[in-house]
Subunit: 191 residues, 2 copies
């Protein structure tokens, strides 16, 4: 945890995901940590903030979430392009040293028994709301946000600062086959 990380007002935590970034999902169970990428994560409620994330049955992280009942959704940056793609295409089942190979550095937050990925722009600690039908039929997991933080160099006072921050902090938006887009220009509507 670095000196730029600050808590986010729970009522504004949904804004961390509102623009649809690709995220990293991390979880821990029985001493095992894992991190995966997920393009299919989405805000679903304001207060308390809730979100959805699709976790395929072959994802090792899914089992950690099911066993521990908690997980972290975090927003990776352009500086983490390669890391994001690597954790999204390799499996802990095949490569036990996946996180080391992907240059993932984990850190802790006081009071949370969860692995947070260093270098991201925002973090949402979540409690799984168990919905067995959704999980088994659709691979759909629902989380309630129990803690939110952001790097104040790119998200402050409830607002993303992409237009002023170092471009390395821009969020990633995955399409397919190694193609991402970074978030772009700010546009404001009146009224």
């Amino acid at each position: 945890m670095n000196e730029f990380i600050a808590p986010v007002d729970p009522a504004k935590a949904y804004r961390l995901l509102n623009h649809g970034p690709t995220v990293l999902v991390s979880a821990r169970h029985d001493g095992v940590n894992n991190v995966m990428a997920a393009a299919w994560a989405c805000a679903m409620d304001f207060m308390p903030a809730k979100l959805t994330v699709i976790l395929d049955k072959i994802a090792a992280t899914r089992a950690l979430v099911e066993h521990s009942g908690v997980f972290v959704i975090q927003v990776p940056t352009v500086a983490q392009l390669q890391l994001t793609h690597t954790v999204g295409t390799r499996s802990l089942a095949d490569e036990p040293d996946k996180l080391k190979r992907a240059d993932v550095e984990l850190f802790s937050m006081p009071g949370f028994e969860l692995p947070f990925v260093a270098g991201c722009s925002a973090w949402l600690a979540c409690r799984l709301i168990p919905e067995p039908h959704n999980q088994s039929t659709y691979d759909l997991f629902i989380g309630e946000v129990i803690g939110a933080w952001a790097d104040t160099r790119v998200f402050k006072d409830g607002h993303w600062l992409f237009e002023d921050a170092d471009p390395a902090f821009r969020s990633l938006h995955y399409i397919a086959g190694g193609r991402f887009y970074a978030i772009g220009e700010a546009l404001d509507v009146e009224g």
Copy 2:
């Protein structure tokens, strides 16, 4: 429907939403059309493509979806910034002429009894998969994609062309309070 609109390979329809754009949701029932904006829409499966969208209980469009069992998710462009914000902040319940005021032009697709919004970059016709618990508890609606089209000036052969297309075709990513970001730079990862 203009000459640039072409069907999208069903196996690649998920790519229309994969980068997390804010979308327009449209539906029709008993002769009434409506269109709303939704930042909380997300791909959830590849083939057949499925998606989730959050439809608040106060949204007039929700009732049209519940009654007709079908809806369209479409991807608006930077050229539709004001339209997107207007349909996202006004309600048909208060303003029966909402669509006219928002300058929404609707068109049809042969074989689909649905209102499509002209000027978007992509369209996903969906059949509601009824899940009453999700709908009532979380305002969460699940759709199976039954038709997909894109404007070939910005999505062709299964790929977004944001980096080469007219910037007016960029997707919108809403945050809050009238603040959107446009999609930005293309980034490619090897391997």
